[in-house]
Symmetry: C2
Amino acid sequence: MKEVTIAGAGLTGTLLSILLAKQGYSVRLYERNKDPRTSFVKGGKSINLTLCKRGISALEMAGLGEAVQELWVPVYGRCLHLNESSLELQPYGNYGEALYSISRQDLNSLLLSAAQKTSGVSVEFGLKCMGYDLEKSSVLFIDENQNQIESPFATLIAADGVHSAIRYQMQRNHGFDYSQFYSKHVNKELSIPAELAKQYKLEKNHLHIWPRNEFMIIAFPNRDGSYTCTLQLPFEGNDISFKNLNTESELLHHFQKLFPDAIPLLPNLVEEFFKNPEIPMVTVRCSPWHIQDKVLLIGDAAHGIWPSYGQGANAGFEDCEVLCECMAKTPDDFLVSFAEFQERRIQNLNAIADLSENHFNEIRHHVADSKFLLRKKIERKMNQLFPSEYFSLYARVAFTKTPYKQAVDMESFYHGLIDELLKIPEIVLSPDSSESEKLIYKTYQKHLNKENYNIDKYLH
Amino acid sequence: MKEVTIAGAGLTGTLLSILLAKQGYSVRLYERNKDPRTSFVKGGKSINLTLCKRGISALEMAGLGEAVQELWVPVYGRCLHLNESSLELQPYGNYGEALYSISRQDLNSLLLSAAQKTSGVSVEFGLKCMGYDLEKSSVLFIDENQNQIESPFATLIAADGVHSAIRYQMQRNHGFDYSQFYSKHVNKELSIPAELAKQYKLEKNHLHIWPRNEFMIIAFPNRDGSYTCTLQLPFEGNDISFKNLNTESELLHHFQKLFPDAIPLLPNLVEEFFKNPEIPMVTVRCSPWHIQDKVLLIGDAAHGIWPSYGQGANAGFEDCEVLCECMAKTPDDFLVSFAEFQERRIQNLNAIADLSENHFNEIRHHVADSKFLLRKKIERKMNQLFPSEYFSLYARVAFTKTPYKQAVDMESFYHGLIDELLKIPEIVLSPDSSESEKLIYKTYQKHLNKENYNIDKYLH
């Protein structure tokens, strides 16, 4: 039986262990942390997680489609808190499309329990991966007592996250292209207790967003009625930033100005702000993702993306699905499987990395902008009229399995179409009138002809 | 007396030690290798070096302006070997402008001897820098017996090259943006003995170039009449590449096709090709270059650039000159000096990094192209007519001290002007006729008015 060693029992590594064991591999899974199901996990470090179709599809492959439903909260749209008195509800789609808010730790625990029940998977905790020795085919760990441990591997898959020790080592190889790019903003975890969410009647099953240009709060619903929030603000600079907020009174002074309507929901603001760590956002791109048929990067180790599009974990899960397809195709030649995996994934991950950086700026600055809202309205109308054909870029990423790169390529066509529609006053004034619908059909047809658009070229 | 520790006694680190000691600092300089003046240095790894005005200016600051002249060979232009029978001489300028070909080891030895003669500089060899401990303000070394040595520092300057251990450590810091990008080509050192250069009458005081699109040989003159060559070819791929050239007969077969005219000059081709290592080319960009007032990156450690523009060492020397200016301005506040140094240098280094990548492709593909040659001719004419005003981009980089970014910005104006001139048949046919000169003056004036060009905005 072929052996695979996976470094990192986070979301991607653990799901991959299950899927590979189901394909008949013997999988050894190593994790630096203690078992999160039995030991205390320090909080305050999560940026909450939403699952979408891509991620759920891979969980279903692992037989976890039902179990995961017990853990999540469906989220059908955004609720924008534009100011103290004005709310704006933005449904994600016309047909009840939802994202699924879930705690990272709950999901990880589910996966770990499933992995340990899967025949062929062994899991060891408390072993921090330090790198590999290619000549000896061994992977290097440090245990909790700082002992060095060397373990042989046949094939090593690095799922050890955005600061992957294995990737840092690969970076020294000639020909390894690499970049890391940090946002100028950092995140801080805050929380809204269930009773306050109820008292202030926060719209259920929505992400709540307080957009204030350079500053933003996003609240993700938990199953107990509470919300876990991410506060985003600049790390440093002359204006308000983490580095300049050093006292309780400075913090409250600026919060009063920026988020007066959120303060009543955040009773532990001061404590949480000064206790919880700053969480940076980093885009990581690299190439190649593998060393021959011996070592492969996957998930955040291969591609860090900012969490703004909610695709980090979903992209990692989709990696697992694609890798399993590639390994099933050429089970006796991992070199071919790994090369195909990279070929299929790398341009898609570069596309979602770009999108995540752009969306981060869009959502902070434009989400409350009237032109942006108008565009969203026309996009929803288009999707009503062409439900199997037209999706906004956001919807195509979040609610379909269209490869990211393809979604971006299609958008260059559709963005121009929406531009055309936005120039027609009838459509802008009453998009639902039969006159407007006729105009939409006509404009769409004209745009198709003009652009000589052929959907086939976007299908792979 | 303020202490500065410099990691790396290559060209940049050693020059910097002299300049800082002259400013009154006590400098401790550490080098991983043995003293190159007294121990055997393995050859075959150099890409030869040409000094230009930027680099020479910094050497003059160190009092080495005369000594270095004893070591170099002036190079007044390129000699293109287009095929067996056709040579093309391209002078670098109208006024005897030259690059100065010099052996890296000779230059390094000169600098080391000068450093050791400079009061306030101490040099230690055989100590490989492994990183730093910021809390303890100590720098970590390994000596030749693998003993770990910790040495305290007040201020640490990392001149430890493109694979800087200090930078690799800084890379783990949040907010440290970083990228490394490799060429698909690698270099291999070959050599032309003096007697063959003489026998085949290689034009003296020229770089000799055999451009063959994906393949190229560049020969740099040495003082003894021999030439050190760089062979560039793709590292891997379906066509001819290092990875596919595994036997003597494969090598000779392809060399006969590509470089029949170079073969007689390269009597040790086979031995050198298979013995000498592949030298990759990598662009490294990062930011920030310093940690507070404690640690600073300089030279290749801060900015790796491909050697194609011949600016690597020159940029490192220019760094030294600028850093000394910044440190002289605010000697009591290194945080301000380092921030100003980065501010003045980073966009210039990004500009020369781009130029070096682009020039690498240009020189391989276009150097023998008739349109390219025509443009060069018109550029030379422009420089004749406006000798203090107009320089081609190459000349501005190689023969002036115009900051790199400014040179690139100015080129966007001048490139358009040359485009205009190339459209005028009289000028193309006989640029030296008085009619053509009048047309050039007129076109220049028109272009100035059209672009509303103001030289002042390019002066800093």
